[in-house]
Symmetry: C3
Subunit: 205 residues, 3 copies
C-alpha cells in the first residue's frame, strides 16, 4: 500500500521532470507526453522485457499512462511556477529512484532470480527511464557521466536484499533501505559527490 | 486482403523514405538496408515486444525483410529519379501511417487489451519505426518536434475503435478511419498544422 | 566447449574496447561498466528479446556480468598500457564478431526458424552490441558508415549454414566459417575495404 503510494508519487514526479527536459528541447505537446510516459514507465518496461515478465505494468494499469501524460501537460501549462520548485523536484526524483529500485528488486525476487539479477533489476527499474529520456533528447545519458544515481540504486537494492535475507518485517525492510538511499542521494547532491571519471585519449582511427 | 496490400505498399514506401534518410547521412549500403528494415518493420516489432506478442511479424514472414531491403537498394540505385517524387512519397508515407495504425489496433483487440492500450498499440505501430530511424541517424525524433504524425495516428485509431464498437462492416470500419486519417494528414501538410510547442528555459544545472 | 572459450574471450575483449570508447567520452566508472556490459552482452540480448528466447544469457549466467564489468574496470585502471595493444584488440574484436555470429545462428537453428532469420540472428548477435554502444555514446552507429562488420557476419553465418546443411562434423562446421570470417575481416582492415556509400542530397525540408 505505502509502496504503491510512493510509486504513484514517483511516476508523477518523473513525468514532470521529463516534461521540463522536453521543454528545454522545444518539443511539441505530443513529444512532451511521450517523453514523460517513457521516462516514468520506461525503466519498469525495460526490466520486464529483459526478464520476460509479461504483461508490462502499464498494459495491466493503463491509468498510469493517463496519469503521467496528465502530469506532463499540467507541468507544461504551469511551467513558470515549476521554475521555483527545483528542490522539490530533486527530492521527489530521489524518492522515485529508491522506490523504483525496491519495486524492481521485489519483482526479481518473486521470479526467483539470482542475487546479481535482483540487484540489477532494481538498478534497471530505477535508472533506465532516465537513460531512455536522454537518448530520445539526443544526449549522452547523464547516468554515465555525472550522477551518483546508479550507486544510490545499488546501495538501496543491496540493503533491501540484506533486510529480506535477515527477515526484517515487511515495512522496515522497505523503509530502511529507502531512507538510507535517500540520505545518500541528498548527501551526494549537497556535497557534489561524483564517481571518478575515466578519461582516455588515443590516436586510434 | 486489402489491408495486406496496403501493408505491403506501406512497408515498401517506408523502406524507400528511410533509405533516402540514410543517404543524407552518407551511410553505406548495409546501413541503408538496416535503417530501411528497422523503419519499415520496427514499429510493429516494438509493439510486439512490449505486448509480448510472439513471434514477430518478420520472423513469421522473412520475405518482408527481403522486400524492404530490396526496396532500399532500388531506391539507392535510382536516387536521382526519387528526387522528383517527393509528393508521392509523402502520400505513401501517410498511407503507411494509417495502415500501420489500424493493424496495431487490430492486434491489441485480438489480445483483448484495454481501450487505452489498443489506441497506444496503433500509435506505436504507426510511429515507432520513424522514432527508431531518427535515433539511429542521431537526430531528435521528428515525431516529438514537428509533425502531426502522432495525432493523425490517434484520430485514426480512435475512429477505428468507434467503428468496431458500433459494428460497422469490416471494410467500412477500416476504410473510413483510414480515409479520415489521410485527409487529416494531408491538411496538416498543406496548411503546415503543428501541435503547440512547449518551450522552457531555466538556470538549473 | 571450444565455442564457450571463444565466447568468454570475446565478451571480455568487447567489454575492454567498450570501456576505452566510454573513456573517450569521459564517462564515470558506472558508465564504463554499463557500456561494457551492454556492448558485450547487448547483441545477444537484442536477439533473445526479438526472438522471444527467454531467459536471456546473462540472467541465466550472471557471472558474465561480473566478468565484463571486471574487465572494464581493469581496462580503465591499466589504460596507459592498453594504448599499445590496438592490434590485439582488433584481433580479439574480430574473434568476437565471428563467435557471436555462430552462436546466434545456432540459437535460431535450435528454435527451428527460417533460413533468413538464422542469418539475421547471427548478424544481430554479432553487430547489435556495437550499435547500442554507439547510440549510448551519442554517435551515428559505425556499423552503418564504415566497417565491413555486417558483411563479415553475413559471410560467416552463410558458410556456417552451408556447413550444417552438408553435415560437416561439428568442429569443422564451426571453425571453417569462423576462419574465413576472420580472414575476411583482417583483409578488410588491411586493405581498408569498404561498402560503397550512398550519398544523397535533396532540398526537401
Amino acid at each position: 500500500m505505502l509502496l504503491l503510494t510512493f510509486y504513484l508519487i514517483a511516476i508523477t514526479a518523473e513525468a514532470m521532470t521529463a516534461a521540463l527536459a522536453a521543454g528545454r528541447r522545444d518539443m511539441d505537446w505530443v513529444g512532451v507526453c511521450v517523453i514523460a510516459c517513457i521516462t516514468a514507465l520506461g525503466g519498469g518496461s525495460v526490466r520486464d522485457v529483459l526478464l520476460g515478465h509479461y504483461p508490462l505494468t502499464w498494459v495491466k494499469h493503463p491509468e498510469y499512462l493517463w496519469m503521467t501524460a496528465g502530469a506532463a501537460i499540467f507541468t507544461a501549462l504551469t511551467a513558470r511556477m515549476m521554475r521555483h520548485l527545483h528542490k522539490l523536484f530533486l527530492a521527489l526524483d530521489a524518492l522515485g529512484l529508491v522506490t523504483f529500485t525496491v519495486i524492481g528488486c521485489q519483482i526479481a525476487i518473486e521470479m526467483e532470480l539470482p542475487v546479481t539479477i535482483i540487484l540489477l533489476s532494481g538498478m534497471i527499474t530505477g535508472c533506465a527511464g532516465g537513460v531512455l529520456r536522454d537518448i530520445l533528447c539526443n544526449d549522452i545519458p547523464l547516468l554515465f557521466r555525472k550522477e551518483m544515481y546508479a550507486s544510490v540504486s545499488m546501495v538501496t537494492g543491496g540493503l533491501y536484499m540484506l533486510a529480506i535475507h535477515f527477515e526484517l518485517n515487511e515495512l522496515a525492510s522497505m523503509l530502511v533501505p529507502m531512507g538510507v538511499g535517500l540520505l545518500f542521494r541528498f548527501l551526494a547532491l549537497r556535497f557534489n559527490w561524483q564517481m571518478p571519471q575515466f578519461v582516455y585519449r588515443d590516436d586510434w582511427k
